[in-house]
């Protein structure tokens, strides 16, 4: 512990968002620094590496205007912490936790390191309480439960934005209990962000937003989700609220990670993304969860845009290995005018088994969902056959299965902007299966 604040003017090099400092005494890894720029701006940064008395600093905010002569760096002797408290609700912040809603900063009750400690696996409560999203394909077939992390894999041009916006205002607990949304925008264009603004304004104090736009500093793109998750953990585990964290778009996050990693001269891994991307993503995603004996929960719904529609691209691939399932949007369904265009076959919610059925949703839920899956998968298989031999060359039963696949997409998957309760979802499923009793199994 140092008693006095240390100040240095020994910047030796500046490369991208990185600052090299010399002759530093007793720096700490992850230590927060304040940087006074020659033009009077104040920036913050974090210690990334220390070699003897040389220190490498990652600067939050742009390094433009910094020089080696007049820039001074002040060491704080503390790691980066997020301000926390009830005042955070209803507010919009940037990627460095500065308010951007024209209101003064709230008065924090205390501060927590933004790098959350991992939840002890023994302390974790298994997620098993249903969250209603209002989308049939999610609630009925890929049920989201409290404490789960379930990403949306989308392709450029698909209406992930509309879905996210709908999720913001329609997600709720079945008992209507208190539910808070933490919205994290990463690298969004102004045009995209406009889209969410109105929704956020209508939510009053039920949300917190962290917004890093496409022209905001890249380093803050890495910081914003950590701040948001620290806030979410506090709301959940100290203030006992159920929190849904929506992050869009993780592809922008990963690209920022690659950019910074290259600046740090790290060895690139697959497609130039850093070798530690799995661990880095895990340090975010794994913060979702529930804890035995505590009331709240953190549920995570990140959006990932698959580059070139490729689910094996490192970003969706690594995400899939950490999260508990995925919701996959399909270009084909979108072309057919189906909304939300969720392709249920590659979609999966690993934790739904405990969150459905009697006491959670409805006792017939598991049965209905299994039947829908099986019958639809058969119908989709037959579509390939149909393409070769034509409908006329097929058995009557097979033609019926093809009809089922079409009706499933039109009646069950497609719901437009209308919200369906879980009962409405299951009733729709039942009605559909009743019409196709002879082929559904």
């Amino acid at each position: 512990m140092r008693l006095a604040e240390h100040q240095y003017r020994s910047v030796s090099a500046i490369r991208g968002p990185l600052l090299f400092l010399e002759k530093v005494f007793a720096a700490r890894l992850g230590e927060l620094v304040r940087i006074d720029a020659p033009d009077g701006r104040t920036l913050t940064g974090e210690v990334l590496k220390i070699f003897g008395d040389q220190v490498l600093i990652q600067v939050f905010g742009g390094t433009q205007g910094l020089d080696t002569k007049r820039t001074s760096v002040n060491f704080s002797d503390a790691v980066m912490r997020a301000p926390l408290g009830a005042g955070v609700l209803g507010r919009v912040f940037d990627g460095s936790f500065r308010p951007i809603d024209d209101l003064p900063m709230f008065i924090p009750e205390f501060r927590q390191p933004v790098i959350g400690a991992p939840i002890n696996p023994v302390a974790r409560a298994h997620p098993e309480e249903f969250i209603e999203t209002g989308f049939s394909t999610i609630d009925g077939l890929n049920t989201l439960v409290k404490g789960q992390k379930l990403p949306i894999f989308t392709c450029a041009g698909l209406p992930a934005r509309e879905m996210t916006e709908q999720l913001l205002h329609q997600a709720r607990l079945p008992d209507g209990g208190p539910f808070v949304l933490v919205f994290v925008a990463l690298g969004l264009t102004h045009f995209e962000y406009q889209f969410y603004r109105q929704t956020l304004e209508n939510m009053q104090s039920r949300f917190v937003a962290f917004v890093n736009l496409a022209d905001d500093p890249v380093v803050e793109r890495l910081l914003a989700p950590r701040l948001a998750l620290t806030v979410a953990e506090d709301l959940a585990f100290r203030q006992e609220m159920d929190v849904l964290v929506i992050i869009t778009d993780m592809t922008n996050y990963c690209d920022a990670l690659r950019e910074i990693s290259t600046a740090r001269e790290e060895l690139p891994g697959r497609r130039g993304y850093p070798g530690h991307m799995y661990s880095d993503l895990a340090s975010l995603y794994e913060r979702a969860g529930r804890i035995h004996g505590r009331k709240g929960s953190v549920t995570l719904l990140p959006t990932v845009t698959m580059p070139e529609d490729d689910i094996t691209h490192p970003i969706p691939d690594l995400t899939g290995y950490i999260t508990e399932g995925q919701l996959v949007l399909s270009r084909e369904l979108h072309q057919k005018g189906i909304y939300p265009p969720i392709d249920v076959l590659p979609s999966l919610s690993r934790l739904m088994q405990h969150g459905i059925g009697k006491g959670q949703t409805r006792s017939d839920h598991r049965d209905l969902s299994n039947q829908l899956y099986r019958t639809y998968a058969k119908g989709c298989d037959l579509r390939r056959l149909e393409a070769v031999v034509g409908r006329d060359g097929m058995l009557a039963e097979d033609r019926k299965l093809l009809d089922f696949a079409d009706r499933f997409e039109a009646d069950f998957v497609h719901q437009g902007s209308k919200r369906r309760t879980i009962d409405e979802t299951l009733d729709t499923a039942q009605a559909l299966l009743d019409d196709f009793r002879e082929v559904a199994r």
């Binding site: 002890n120 060895l267 070798g275 913060r287």
Partner: protein
């Protein structure tokens, strides 16, 4: 001996502590973080820190533990839940709260628990390392207390003892406790390795019937995300016919670990009727716990597995997933700025992996018994590309491949084991055993493979001419194949069907094949398939 931290880059820390050896354990900084020496240059040692080290500063003190990373071996391990450094997670929870913080090093096993120690050895007996000098009852097993080194017993205690009370004294006055420590990266010794001969029944029809595993064998389970690696491994962990299961989650999802812990707490072992967790050791290093501890986790776990093997028991080691372990290896290698090999993995990936996998096998133990250590290793190839280095490196040293198929998983066919591309080199040996109990096993297996194979060929034809265009005999075959796939190879892990004994497996397949033969015979007599199927549908079940 004391030194200080001279530089820090992530988990890689340089210290100016002299006289260290590669692999030595050191304690770094004022918060006493555990680390391991990975490189020594002249006067500077490079240490890999196993815990979150943000806040660590230059000039903070470093001390050596005087030896390599070890685990404590003794009664009380069964039922335990540890992290990658064998720290007991329930105790960390009790002492440190719901989140795991750095710098805690409690003793891994309960030292206050009283054990009833019995022995048939006496003062003056000379025993070799690995021989049992006493035993205690730990749940369903007889836990042998093994000599950590050669020695002559001088004084022996029996009766109610804790791990803090010496059980014996050696001739050189050294006390002998009920536990000892062992370096994790050093395989425990044995007299000789024996060829595996006995089947390991997993309760999965697809595996036991088509691709059986042997006790002492190694199987790898590669599959992209969502193909059900974790569920398959956990189901096998619950039902496999072994004495002890060591399950290591290296870089696994916390929520899935939590699910496993919950279930193991509730379920009972179908054979012994005791709580399942009593035969299980879980090592949980979830994906956001420190990378270096993830790397060590499989060694920590396998050392505990070998320890129980050395008592003459059958032990099953399950890892989920080895790819996450390899990622940890890659991250550490990259932090050390080593020259990378294929896909950025270090060039020693293959040798490190085979060194680890070769710790499996059937052995004649040092105390003269026979124990086995089997391994089932999940691999998560990026982008489900099986040509990648980790899958290929594993493939070279494993005896069975259970390939999980994304297409099957999308169809909710679980376990999504691809029956055309999976294989088991243990098939013939296992068959010899199964045939003793069920003589038609081999014949039925061949029939089953044949039907599935012919279905594949027919499906291509059907795609051209349509089902309508197929002959009745071929349509029947496709129908039977579908039944084999859906009613036999599919197995729901969340129902009673999760475990199938060999007897019920053979019964199900016998019924399916018999029905096929019966309908074939009717077709041969001129009946029409559609009529036959209508009858079959209306026949009482």
């Amino acid at each position: 001996m004391n030194g200080t931290v001279t530089s820090i880059s992530g988990a890689t820390v340089c210290v100016d502590l002299l006289d260290l050896k590669i692999g030595d354990r050191v304690f770094v900084g004022t918060s006493h973080l555990t680390g391991e020496v990975v490189r020594i240059d002249d006067k500077i040692a490079t240490v890999q820190v196993f815990e979150e080290n943000r806040g660590l500063g230059i000039g903070e003190p470093v001390t050596t533990a005087g030896g390599p990373l070890t685990v404590a071996l003794g009664p009380g391990l069964l039922g335990g839940i540890f992290d990658g450094l064998q720290r007991p997670l329930p105790l960390l929870l009790e002492n440190g709260g719901d989140f795991v913080s750095s710098g805690q090093n409690p003793f891994p096993i309960d030292r206050k628990k009283i054990w009833a120690v019995t022995t048939n050895k006496k003062s003056g007996d000379h025993l070799h390392s690995g021989e049992a000098f006493a035993k205690v009852r730990e749940g369903h097993i007889e836990h042998l207390l093994l000599m950590p080194q050669d020695g002559t017993l001088q004084q022996l205690e029996e009766g109610r003892l804790t791990l803090e009370n010496p059980v014996a004294t050696l001739a050189d006055k050294q006390p002998l406790y009920g536990w000892h420590s062992w370096p994790v990266r050093k395989a425990r010794p044995y007299q000789s390795k024996l060829p595996p001969t006995r089947p390991l029944v997993t309760g999965q029809r697809c595996l036991d019937f088509l691709f059986p595993l042997l006790k002492g064998g190694v199987a790898m389970v590669p599959g992209g995300f969502g193909t059900g690696k974790t569920v398959l491994e956990q189901t096998i962990a619950k039902f496999a016919d072994v004495d002890v299961v060591v399950y290591v989650g290296c870089g696994e999802r916390g929520n899935e670990m939590a699910g496993l812990l919950d279930e193991f707490g509730e379920l009972e072992d179908p054979r012994t009727k005791r709580p399942l967790k009593e035969r299980t050791i879980i090592v949980a290093n979830t994906s956001n716990m420190p990378v270096a501890a993830r790397e060590s986790s499989i060694f920590t776990a396998v050392t505990m597995a070998e320890y129980y093997r050395d008592m003459g028991l059958d032990v099953l080691f399950l890892a989920d997933s080895l790819s996450r372990w390899a990622e940890a290896l890659r991250e550490i290698s990259s932090a050390l700025e080593e020259m990378p090999g294929e896909d950025g993995y270090p060039t020693y990936l293959g040798s490190r992996l085979s060194g680890f996998i070769e710790r499996a096998g059937v052995v004649k133990t040092l105390s003269g018994g026979q124990g086995s250590l089997s391994m089932i290793l999940a691999v998560s190839p990026p982008g489900a590309d099986f040509a990648e280095p980790v899958t290929q490196a594993c493939l070279r040293v494993s005896g069975a491949l259970y390939m999980l198929d994304t297409q099957l998983a999308h169809r909710r066919h679980f376990p999504a084991i691809n029956w055309t591309q999976s294989f088991s080199l243990y098939s013939d040996t296992a068959m010899a055993h199964f045939v003793e109990e069920h003589e038609e096993w081999a014949k039925l297996q061949a029939r089953c493979r044949d039907i599935l194979q012919r279905e594949d060929a027919l499906r291509e034809v059907a795609e051209v001419v349509g089902m309508e265009g197929l002959q009745d005999g071929d349509r029947l075959l496709m129908r039977t194949a579908e039944k084999i796939r859906l009613d036999f190879l599919c197995q729901n892990s969340f129902t009673e069907d999760a475990f199938a004994a060999p007897k019920s497996t053979i019964e199900s397949i016998t019924t399916l094949v018999a029905e096929h033969d019966q309908l074939s015979a009717a077709l041969a007599n001129g009946a029409l398939l559609d009529d036959l199927l209508k009858e079959a549908a209306h026949a009482p079940r």
